[in-house]
Symmetry: C2
Subunit: 172 residues, 2 copies
DNA sequence: TGTTAAATGCTATATTATAAATTCTGCTCT
DNA sequence: AGAGCAGAATTTATAATATAGCATTTAACA
């Protein structure tokens, strides 16, 4: 019995094509509606981000974009990322300097991010109770919120089950 | 009546010397107790961080340390910062790539950070209700927490009052 | 005092991000 | 059609943040 040390892809356990096609359809629809351009570069960058549920680094995106877009430079990626963030189609993960697709870009939302140290996947949660507790506490402090970055690092459900499955070989 | 555009220092409104001396005394005491060395460099870096309640950048610290420590290089600062973070004497503000003194390093704590866009000061809050709501939500998700970065950006109480004081010249 | 581990010095480089000027591209107005 | 315009992309350069690896110094302590 060997311990699985291959980079995990829980995405393989679900139909990730659905995630991608849904995300791209939503993006196309929202941009159309808003009269902003989801240009080929922006579209491609969004697809690259959606290749997995992991947060992805700007320069990693650049490397992956280059074969398709010979002229791609850092500014190419960062301008695309700025656009996608402005449109709420992706989130920036501050504590990783990385970017992840947003699953609920079609409506206004606040979210917290659960970031797995093991598989590196990021799960977005609306956590209403957390947000209202937060509103209350900041109000007490007389503080007016403009934006939030709530990023929780740890081990996700899938990874926990995985280590239990593997004969108690817990190496986390 | 002119609008105050000078960088704000709410620290001037309280006896900040007390903040500093308390923080340094606590640091010295904790390091002693733990058998770790608060070396002159580490001590100085901590003092530099405590010059205000703003989050301060690593290279800004470096510039301020150089006159006192001619050999100071990036690694000098980053090593001191690593030590101070390990000892819980400062916090890293992920969304700013900056560092701020911790006011409650003497006991275990979780905190959220209120970061003012106007005066740039950072207030640390324990926000028990937020933390327990968070525990509950992550538990639901089957996620095991290792660490948290909860960073709220907005306008602090002092800055709000300030703009009200100034004849409704609210420019935020 | 000799040994050792921690801390610092030193040099180089990796990684992340932005600035500024120019060119391209698609659109509108005449 | 052609001038004018605005958004997007290119290009070049550089700023800002952070780490690696190895040499040297310092401090703890047996
Ligand atoms: Zn998926
Ligand atoms: Zn995981
Ligand atoms: Zn103070
Ligand atoms: Zn303020």
């Amino acid at each position: 019995m060997t311990i699985n040390t291959i980079p995990l892809q829980h995405a393989l356990k679900h139909n990730h094509n659905e995630c991608v096609s849904e995300a791209m359809a939503t993006a196309e629809h929202l941009c159309m509606e808003r009269g902003v351009q989801l240009t080929p570069i922006r579209h491609k960058v969004l697809e690259l981000i959606w290749e997995s549920h992991k947060a992805v680094k700007a320069y990693e995106l650049l490397d992956r974009l280059k074969p398709l877009q010979k002229a791609a430079k850092p500014a190419t990626i960062y301008r695309a990322l700025d656009f996608l963030i402005d449109q709420g189609l992706i989130h920036r993960v501050e504590s990783l300097n990385a970017f992840v697709g947003c699953r609920c870009s079609s409506y206004q939302h606040e979210q917290l991010l659960l970031i797995c140290k093991h598989c590196e996947e990021v799960e977005e949660r609306s956590a209403k109770e957390v947000m209202s507790a937060l509103s209350e506490d900041t109000q007490k402090a007389g503080f007016t919120i403009h934006s939030k970055a709530i990023e929780i690092h740890g081990i996700c459900k899938n990874c926990q089950n995985l280590t239990i499955d593997q004969n108690q070989s817990v190496i986390l």
